[in-house]
């Protein structure tokens, strides 16, 4: 059992997500930064998709009620064990009563806290992922609250390991996101597309797990901003009447009636979700074949990450 002493502004239980229900309007949910989530699970010996915690900008303060191992990855945030600094991206072994605290993210937005055995809340439609707007999954369909107690599954064999520093992602700077133009790129003027691909967009604080709201050079429509509603993909870049793009994420609405200028490639979704409010993003267009090649390269690089044993 984990005792939540302080939940942080928005900490949810997430697992690999619930696929197959978007035709009923239920989004997949799951971690915005899947690789950091997977690495946190591997560090504590869990299967890649085990339920862990996702925090947002500021982490929680948690107390172990029994010995367990945990790992924190994702956003770069100060981490303490009983008030003493301790490394992230590394297996931590806790004794009963130990308190782990994650501070404010210096870079990145979402961090992951995996606990050996996984968070054992009841699955909804086969998944423990929290879908906040639909009050589904996770702990009673909501974010963690003070004094919640999180049940844990049976822990795997303990191995203390760390993610090599070179394999830890960096979230600062001005990320350039790969997009495939469409499905409604023809509904924008040439100037509108040039603005989208040629300028920077600030991440707004209203961004959440549903979508990242951006602000920058307005993207001009050629013939109105409404379409007959169609499906919204992960990474769809919706442009409503004000010309400001929204990148749709894990808890997105399944369908919508605004024009979509492009789709952010799946391997860049984490970089959208890890960009802090005020951070700037750029977009660069690739064709489908190049996007798939980049995806294979990106998957191969991740597959080559090997955790290092530590004493």
């Amino acid at each position: 059992m984990i005792h939540v002493l302080d939940p942080g502004p928005q900490t949810t239980v997430q697992d690999a997500g619930r696929g197959g229900h978007m035709r009923y309007g239920i989004p997949p949910s799951g971690p915005v930064d899947r690789r950091s989530f997977v690495l946190a699970n591997r560090l504590v010996g869990n299967p890649d998709g085990a339920a862990a915690l996702e925090f947002t900008l500021l982490g929680p303060r948690l107390r172990a009620e029994a010995p367990c191992s945990v790992a924190v990855t994702g956003a770069d945030a100060p981490l303490t064990l009983n008030d003493a600094p301790t490394p992230a991206w590394t297996t931590l072994t806790l004794a009963a009563g130990d308190v782990v605290k994650v501070g404010a993210a210096r870079s990145g937005v979402r961090g992951y806290i995996a606990v050996a055995g996984g968070i054992d809340v009841p699955p909804a439609l086969g998944s423990r992922a929290t879908y906040l707007r639909g009050r589904m999954g996770g702990l009673h369909g909501r974010a963690l609250a003070r004094d919640d107690r999180l049940p844990l599954g049976a822990p795997p064999t303990l191995r203390r390991r760390t993610v090599p520093p070179a394999a830890r992602p960096q979230w600062g700077g001005e990320p350039v996101l790969h997009v495939v133009l469409g499905p409604q790129a023809d509904r924008f003027t040439a100037e509108g597309i040039a603005a989208f691909l040629g300028s920077t967009y600030d991440v707004l604080p209203q961004s959440d797990r549903m979508g990242a709201r951006l602000r920058g050079a307005p993207i001009a429509h050629a013939r109105g901003h409404d379409i007959i509603s169609d499906g919204i993909a992960l990474g769809s870049v919706q442009v409503p009447g004000d010309g400001q793009p929204i990148v749709l994420l894990m808890d997105r609405q399944s369908t919508g009636g605004y024009t979509k200028i492009a789709t952010v490639c799946s391997f860049d979704i984490a970089r959208v979700g890890q960009a802090k409010p005020g951070q700037r993003l750029r977009f660069t267009a690739v064709d489908v074949a190049s996007a798939h090649r980049l995806l294979r390269d990106s998957d191969a690089a991740f597959a080559s990450v090997e955790l290092q044993e530590i004493a």
């Binding site: 197959g20 589904m136 169609d230 499906g231 489908v288 998957d299």
Partner: protein, 215 residues
């Protein structure tokens, strides 16, 4: 309607033939969103397979539709726009109710919020422009019309349709083993109920002992 039938037929064929690499599909009025895993199937190969299936996508390709009876209490308290809609459509309230409940509706697709059905089927006389300013909060269960469409709001949400009444059924129940009541392709009929029956069904839904009529 014809385009939407082909969309749903194509979706059915993709699921039925278990096309390799397809992860899930989302039908809408005139488009089908197909999620696929590019490590299993390439874009061009998949497009070719889908185009071939689209040729066969007709009504006859699909299993028969379910018919779902949705009890609805048409009253001014539960349907805040009932009287205004009747005035706007220049007909008495009971004529509006008779026409709305007398029609059969087809669920084109589910979207926007979990379980929200986009339907048509109302007689032409019930065509009504959407509200200029959408309501910020529409109560869950509201049965509403806008344009030529009819919808039921599964959860409290914003909405621009005219609210005619409310169903005690839950179109989305996150804690139920089957959280979604209506599915794409369902045929829906509204059964007018009095306030007493509305309250009675509400209590039984709450206690999880009410079974909706589905044929």
């Amino acid at each position: 309607m014809e385009v939407n039938t082909r969309v749903r037929a194509l979706e059915y064929l993709i699921a039925h033939k278990a096309v390799p690499g397809v992860l899930e599909t989302v039908p809408t009025y005139r488009a089908l969103l197909v999620y696929y895993d590019p490590s299993i199937v390439g874009y061009d190969v998949l497009c070719g397979q889908l185009a071939a299936l689209a040729e066969q996508a007709t009504t006859t390709a699909m299993p028969p539709a379910r018919e779902v009876e949705v009890p609805c209490c048409y009253d001014g308290e539960l349907g805040a726009d009932l009287e205004a809609a009747a005035r706007r459509l220049a007909m008495p309230v009971d004529e509006l109710v008779r026409l709305h409940a007398g029609a059969e509706y087809l669920v084109y697709f589910i979207g926007f919020t979990p379980g929200l059905p986009y339907m048509t089927g109302a007689p032409e006389r019930l065509t009504i422009p959407r509200h200029d300013t959408p309501r910020v909060k529409v109560p869950a269960g509201s049965v509403a019309i806008g344009g030529i469409q009819c919808c039921i709001y599964p959860v409290e949400s914003p909405g621009g349709f005219w609210l005619l009444g409310r169903t005690p059924l839950r179109l989305y129940d996150p804690d139920a083993p089957e959280p979604i009541l209506l599915k794409p392709g369902d045929r829906v009929r509204f059964r007018p109920i009095e306030r007493r029956e509305f309250d009675d069904i509400t209590a039984r839904v709450e206690a999880r002992v009410f079974r909706p009529v589905i044929r």
